[in-house]
């Protein structure tokens, strides 16, 4: 008798099941535990119990959240509390013996950029990290999700995690993406369509010709923002694009072991006839360069749209919510988004800090100047990305255009390192969350793709990058 067809998610889940509890929870084995510089409390929890790490060889760390991006020297971090976050990671790595890509390591960077580029993240793995954007690694066909600090401590001690099996959702995006439309626009469109809680309790598998047509960087962006739709994780089936990306990277098998790994990875794709709990189909041709207007990633519209009118809201509650968002954002109903002036531009983050993202932004910046009164930063996602960009001359393009070229790290995405805007400032940002105050108290964030952010920098306002592309 043929086994029942399974989804990719189910195959990975089943393979990592250590045991089941009578209440239906599963103890899952974790292949890769990624750490950043915000995990000191988890080590304190271990220390308080006299507990050591179970599998230091499966744990990899890099400082990203608390490290200012104007230095690589911990002693130069002016805030002692932030300095301590970075130094405590170094101390814990030395004490427990796990791999650390520290500030002086050429492989340092944002944890969700470093994992894939070092080949630590591989198809079929379970990957966890104390950061919600761990869903990024699902782009390689891994089951990857964010966990809290108590769970981080639990994985350090046991290399396992109790989880209730989530539901599954398949989002198929068919057709070709238009000019100027990127993976960032696709995921913003997905979130705007299903809502910020639209996938709560689910793992999403992204499929369809538009997804298969994305580069690895694009898929990483897509899966990165899956959490903003409420999902536990997002996954893309591994294919030739995945294998080409991984081959030859550090930590990836070679020779006969590589061939065996690829054969295994090919078998991960969802079986024909596998049943998903929910199914969503979207037409790639309907997706435009997209910008957020409110204080949730679901409040996103095409860049050539007008700011929505709360008067058209479906309920009084929604109307009040929209009015509150517009007041915070300093926008008026019916206002053209493409005429909203910006004060700052941030290009970077685990969403859009990879080489492809920087190339796209540089393509717009080339031969242009950052508008007067605008402060624009480019923060590479990793030291490797930074070196590659410099080898390609992208740093020169940015500098000549008036952008600041920074060191690798999370930077203005969430401002834990002190890199934030001033109250009332409006930021065009390639990051993942436009929550109220996310980039500093009173700061107004508009999410967009890297080329759009560069266009905002050189024009001084939110701009439809397609117009600049036409102008050459």
């Amino acid at each position: 008798m043929n086994p029942e067809p399974r989804t990719m998610f189910e195959k990975v889940w089943d393979r990592h099941r250590v045991l089941e509890r009578e209440d239906g929870q599963t103890l899952l084995y974790v292949d890769r535990h990624l750490l950043h510089d915000g995990t000191a409390p988890a080590f304190e929890m271990l220390k308080a119990r006299g507990q050591k790490m179970r599998a230091p060889g499966r744990t990899f760390a890099t400082p990203d959240h608390y490290m200012p991006t104007d230095t690589r020297i911990a002693a130069e971090i002016p805030d002692p509390a932030l300095r301590e976050m970075v130094l405590s990671l170094e101390r814990n790595a030395a004490a427990e013996g796990f791999a650390l890509y520290g500030l002086d390591d050429p492989r340092q960077g944002i944890v969700h950029v470093v994992g894939p580029e070092l080949g630590l993240s591989q198809p079929g793995m379970i990957i966890v990290c104390g950061d919600s954007h761990t869903s990024t690694h699902g782009a390689l066909g891994a089951l990857a999700f964010g966990i809290g600090m108590t769970e981080v401590a639990h994985v350090l001690a046991t290399q396992c995690l109790w989880q209730r099996k989530p539901k599954t959702m398949r989002i198929a995006i068919e057709g070709a993406l238009g000019a100027g439309v990127t993976a960032k626009d696709v995921i913003l469109h997905v979130i705007a369509t299903i809502g910020t809680a639209g996938a709560t309790g689910h793992v999403i598998e992204y499929a369809g010709s538009a997804v298969r047509g994305l580069s690895m960087e694009g898929r990483l962006t897509l899966c990165n923002m899956t959490i903003e739709a409420g999902a536990r994780a997002g996954m893309v089936a591994p294919d030739e694009t995945t294998f080409a990306f991984l081959e030859g990277r550090e930590n990836v098998p070679t020779g006969a072991a590589w061939d065996a790994a690829v054969a295994r990875w090919r078998s991960l794709a969802s079986d024909p006839g596998a049943v998903f709990d929910r199914f969503v189909e979207l037409d790639a041709a309907t997706i435009a360069p997209t910008v957020t207007w409110g204080t949730s990633p679901q409040e996103a519209v095409a860049v050539d749209s007008r700011v929505p009118d709360p008067a058209a809201a479906p309920s009084p509650g929604r109307r009040a919510e929209m009015e509150e968002m517009l007041a915070y954002m300093g926008l008026s109903p019916g206002q053209l988004l493409a005429e909203v002036a910006v004060d700052r531009v941030f290009i970077g983050s685990c969403t859009n800090g990879r080489i492809e993202d920087l190339r796209a932004a540089a393509g717009v910046a080339r031969g242009r100047q950052v508008a007067e009164g605008v402060t624009a930063w480019v923060v590479p996602g990793s030291a490797q990305v930074k070196r590659q960009a410099e080898a390609e001359g992208l740093d020169r393009i940015f500098r000549e255009a008036g952008f600041a070229w920074r060191e690798a790290g999370c930077s203005m995405c969430l401002g834990t390192n002190g890199e934030i805007g001033r109250p009332g400032e409006r930021i065009a940002s390639t990051s993942n969350r436009n929550f109220r105050g996310r980039q500093g108290p009173g700061v107004r964030t508009h999410l967009m793709n890297p080329a759009m952010a560069a266009a905002a920098a050189v024009t001084g306002r939110i701009t439809d990058v397609r117009r600049l592309m036409e102008a050459g």
């Binding site: 409390p41 793995m125 950061d131 639990h154 910020t196 409420g230 109220r436 996310r438």
Partner: protein, 199 residues
């Protein structure tokens, strides 16, 4: 973790959907040590003006609700970041339960591991409880984890579901890590198999 009590308290209404963890605990407080006063930072930018004075009509600043131990939230309460610090902030302020129609997945998990019970009730029930809290700020709500019921301020009783193991851990103050470590042999057997299969 201390055993979870039978809670009786005024209910503090945060009557909006999609309240995110950046609101509950802004990122600039994430560096605080585990034993720091996270409660003082709870809803910092909504609760206080830039000069540190209180925003008068914010729920936590209303006299009747200052000492509330039960929160009422909208759909998708505490969506966003995995920061457990958001739970520490709510717990540090004194909250022991949050009643909402739905939660951010990671926040709900974090809550259960830190003595902050996420209670899911139907949206219309929560809306009714929010309306009652606003009409009668002194009205008390009871959360009984043992019986798995919420008694609203008007006396109506509403059952809720909770993960059985999490319930046991909360009621008895059991630590999940100790439970898992007792399965050391199962994990070791899995690791031996994993090594053979060249995962």
């Amino acid at each position: 973790m201390e055993p979870f009590p039978r809670l009786r308290s005024v209910a503090v209404p945060f009557a909006r959907d999609n309240i995110d963890t950046d609101q509950i605990l802004p990122a600039r407080f994430l560096h605080l040590a585990r034993d720091a006063d996270h409660g003082a930072c709870l809803f910092r930018d909504l609760r206080y003006h830039a000069d540190g004075s209180e925003v008068e009509d914010f729920p936590l600043n209303r006299p009747a609700w200052r000492a509330g131990r039960i929160a009422l939230g909208g759909e998708n309460f505490a969506c966003g970041s995995s920061r457990e610090n958001a739970v520490w902030a709510m717990h540090g302020h004194g909250f022991r339960a949050v009643i909402a129609p739905s939660f951010g997945d990671i926040f709900a998990q974090n809550g259960l591991k830190n003595g902050l019970l996420p209670v899911r009730l139907p949206a219309e029930t929560v809306a009714m409880m929010i309306a009652q809290a606003e009409a009668m700020p002194e009205g008390e709500v009871t959360v009984d984890l043992e019986a798995q019921t919420v008694t609203a301020a008007d006396g109506t009783i509403h059952p809720f579901e909770v993960d059985p193991f999490a319930r046991k851990c909360l009621l008895e103050g059991i630590d999940e890590m100790s439970f898992t470590l007792s399965h050391h042999e199962d994990i070791a057997a899995f690791e031996r198999r994993l090594g053979r299969e060249n995962f």
